[in-house]
Amino acid sequence: MADYHYTPVQDHGAKAGVLAYLVTAAAVLLLMMVFGLLMRLEQAQFISLGANWFYQLMTLHGAGMVGIAGIAGAAVMWHFLNHYVALSTRVLLANLGLFLIGVALVLGSVLIGNFHGAWTFLYPLPGNSMGLWSNEAAASFLAGMLVIGTGFLLLQLDIARAIIARYGSFARALGWPQLFGADDGNAPPPTVVASTMVTIVNLIALVVGASILAMMLVNLYFPEFKIDPLLAKGMIYFFGHVFINATIYMAVIAVYEILPRYTRRPWKSNRIFLASWSASTLMVMFIFPHHLLMDFGFPKWMLMVGHIIGYLNTFPILVVTGYGALTIVYRSGIHWDMSSKLLFLSMFGWAAGAMPAFIDGTIRVNYVMHNTLWVPGHFHTYLLLGMVSMVFGFMYYLGKKAQGAPDTPLDRAAYWGYLIGSLGFVLSFLYAGKESVARRYAEHLPQWVPYDRIGAFFATLIVASTLVFVLCFLRRLRHAGSNHTRATAPFSALAAA
């Protein structure tokens, strides 16, 4: 049986490689947010970029956000996992290097080559541009994505190596002996369980992603090498959906590690926790058909699996991780600072975002809401309020000079700006989705513009708040590498000490 007494842990500073990831993530995230804001301003008719620029920005925003979510999530996972297993710093840096090379290829493709085939690069659009971009531009984009994916594959392989070296197998690292046998209370810690799950799903997804990218690159120059568009779409969505989902499962490690330090309560890998993560390993891989529900060419059973797993996937989020966060904070006397607030908010964002998500995965609902603004509405809820809040919570944590270091009024204002901005932003998306407003449109019908204007206002608030988060992180970067206790103890625990 797991016991629920808290054992203090050493608070390690971040290694230079992790900080390089976080600085890159902060800069690119902010830039991609600005691109997103420009898109909303264009749809709101406040500016006039034109359709070509809009779709270029849309392509960069999508590809950039997915990539940078991966970088930020990997930073969180690597930082904490490195306390339990021996990871390679060289591989960590190699991934960042490959990521930057990939980014350069993608930027060149879009900004020089005018590629605007969206981050989903659905076959055969990249090779069929109506003369608007060249094969070379498309190849640069696909190659950039391939290089980025290869970097992440190397990172995941190193993590797999380190986990197996320490625990013997993925099954042991997922805590299966404790899940299916006697619970001796010695299951791997949540960080290891989560990292193992992420590694399993990402290894498969990245290989599938690399395969379709390679196939499409061949097709660009040898058109006689045909690809089944349905197969291509399935592979792209499998890769993309698993990868972006995995970023949340990486970043939530910050919650598992940091909230216990604030509450002085343990977050244990008990049987329910282990069962939930093993179930999530399967569900994250098989949920992707909920993006393909309107592709009637797929087998009906496969689409029904997407529908059913969409519902089931809410259980680990709500009943285990979300509920776990509520339990650990309830009557804990927690000291609320920027880090603890953002991490707790992130769990709300994840749980709340799962609601419109699973409903959209209902086949009959998808029939009238697929590819409307409802879709970015739900994924911005759990990515913006969820995943990104986890990352900024982690950044604020690392940047703390000492226990009890106070937040500035600007920090606190930015927190509320981010919270209100994100809520208003995602609700404007969701409401527009209810009104059947199409996503990925450079120009909106006149009756749709008011939603865009409301969305643009809240998006501005998000960008301004994020700018504060990023600047504060950069200003406090010098504290991020040192080993010192950061979390302020709960009041009564402090008195007892």
Partner: protein, 178 residues
């Protein structure tokens, strides 16, 4: 309309989640030092929460699988002979074999694409989506729909297909049944 139900249900569920988080924040100030009994109480409550969710989510999950758009024979179909319409997507226009169908009689849209992926979405006269399917090269998807109300319906592309994606639209008429 389904979209309204979806909006209110989603908003309600998100608010319930929000209330849960707010409640815990409000209750976070005073520390209960011994975590083990609190944890046990929380686990007992979680078991109830789990079964509540099973009932709350399980029922619609199963119920909504009864009438799927993939099925050829659907309970909501109208009576009468089927009206077949071939729809082909091109960058960036739609080609329909007929631009007039009758309300109250089932329509079969045979949807495909001549080039890249498109999304064939039908908007009613109030500009709300009533049905959609993907248009994909080399594949013909059949969309079954029976229009209840006469009027001018619009087809819009809902799968990103390049520069003029947002302009890829056409119209057809749903006439009163003769």
């Amino acid at each position: 309309m389904l979209q309204h139900i979806v909006w209110y249900v989603s908003l309600s569920l998100m608010m319930v989640v929000g209330f849960g988080w707010t409640f815990v924040v409000l209750k976070s100030g005073t520390r209960e030092e011994d975590y083990t009994p609190l944890q046990k109480r929380a686990y007992r409550l979680r078991a109830r929460f789990f079964w509540l969710l099973v009932a709350l989510f399980g029922t619609p999950m199963v119920y909504t699988l009864v009438d799927l758009p993939y099925d050829i024979i659907r309970p909501a179909q109208g009576a009468g002979t089927i009206q077949a319409v071939n729809a082909t997507g091109y960058m960036w226009r739609w080609e329909l074999s007929h631009d007039r169908v009758e309300a109250g009689r089932p329509v079969e849209f045979h949807v495909t694409s001549a080039d890249v992926n498109h999304g064939f979405a039908i908007y009613d006269p109030d500009m709300k989506i009533v049905a959609q399917v993907q248009a994909m090269p080399g594949i013909t998807n059949t969309l079954h729909h029976t229009f209840g109300q006469p009027g001018t319906y619009r087809v819009m592309c809902l799968e990103y297909c390049g520069l003029a994606h947002h302009n890829m639209t056409t119209e057809f008429t749903v006439a009163a049944r003769s």
